[in-house]
Amino acid sequence: MATKSQRQAYGEALVELGKENKNIVALEADLGKSTMSILFQQQFPERYFEMGIAEANMASTAAGLALTGKIPFINSFAVFATGRCYDQLRQTIAIAGLNVNICGSSAGLSDFGDGSTHQSVEDMATMRVIPGMTVLVPVDAIETRKMVRAMAAHPGPCYIRINRNDLPFFTDEESEFEIGKLYPVREGGDVIVFANGVMVSKAVEAAEALAGEGISVKVVNVSTVKPLDKQAVIAMAKGFRAVVTAEEHSVIGGLGSAIAEALSEIKDIPLAIVGIEDRFGTSATNYDELLVYYGLTADAVKARIKKIIGKE
């Protein structure tokens, strides 16, 4: 299966956008070689601000740039871009609804070697709870490029959660991306799985395995976690025996919670949330090893699907 790095795509998309719009600016906190904002620096040094290892100042500086009509993208690892400057994102950027775009790179467990301090298991939750914040989780490199474009065009703040590793493609150049839409990647009739990021591929793998066992599974890529079209979630879920969600994130406050909030308005559809069980990350020798350790695998999704419909 062909794969590509989301962060490479992110950096290339920033450059493309920068060529079209002179108001695009990028700010970095000394991780440009990882976030790939360095590609923007190479093309537009005068519109690139290395803000040093000082994320809080980076975020508020971006607010000031936005207030003069610039469209800033701030870059760091997800854990720092959301955690070290939560108050800055909230107070000046989100309250005023400024077009500041936050790139949370090396998100989830994807920075496998660096351990708990560098792995973000709660960024979807903390960003989702800020009023007016858009939260995007690309499934692949192509969707990443489209998201970067959508973020710049969107008037309020947007957070994008970028995986460090190469991920398989589920979209192509022709497929649509619009903030707030749900994108089914596989049809099915018994159970519906809402997934995002790396977990879309795990859910599809689980669905393929279950097809052989006579269980038909639909998989939906929820690449916009917020705003979530609750009515669309309800409409999609209706008629299925159960709903399962899958995310590379804490089971608290992320995609599973968002889907549960939507489905709380209807009854009679059981729901299971696959994610990281209220724990921090840890170091490992590779990404897959960590996904297995935290139960973020096709087998884990498959087991949850079978359990929730009573076919264990």
Partner: protein, 278 residues
Amino acid sequence: MASQATIDHLEAKALALRDHIVNDLTGVGKVGHLGGSCSSAEIVAALYFHKMKHDPQNPALPDRDRFLLSKGHAALVQYAALAEAGYFPKEEMKKVKTLGAMLQGHPDMTRTPGIEANTGSLGQGLSIACGMALGLRLDGQASKVYVLIGDGELAEGQIWEAAMAASYYKIDNLVAIVDRNRLQATGAICDRFDTNPVTPKWAAFGWETIEIDGHDIGAILGALDKADRIKGKPTVIIAETVKGKCISFAENNPAFHNGAMTPEQWEIAKSDLNKLRR
């Protein structure tokens, strides 16, 4: 050198701001940040009624100078200045901090004409000002960005991140003013988390420093003009002030960081201000 007429005009404006603070924005039993608002009245008057290019009829004027109140709790003095300048009807002041009011507890650009950013979470205004100044520079605008910071606020680490960034990027269209009234919410700064010495810190971070009496209009104007001539680095004006200035019972009194006046105190405050009228 500013003319005596200019100084007289701005002293009258500073008095008008304090009048609004005492009569329109607080009053009897209404909690407000009287102390920190009065300590910066001359600075704010000098900026809005003399130094800054701005247009109350067109708050979005592209080449306007910008003012940010990093110490956002002193919103009363900025609201007084905006009302006095004509950004909105003076009646709005009476509704400050009520449900649905244009004038919120802290500056809110989404509601109040003339407010440039949402500030008040301390330590962030200087960074916002740096971003604005960089954005204006990218556009080739000659506008200046002024940001008023409290000396208690200097305890916030982000101030010093921004101070480093401003000198690294040689942001010379930026002027920070420290309202050095030496008190914070609970008492004397030097007895709590001492942010002193102030001036050497800014100098060490690569800033041009100017020390003045923050209630001396002539000195404020002189410092602002000098800042215009400083190129290649940012300027900070350290303004020595008195918290609660001109309101006798509030001067240097931490209780009026965010206090409410009794009826007797309100009478004294009005009388204090009346004595200053010419």
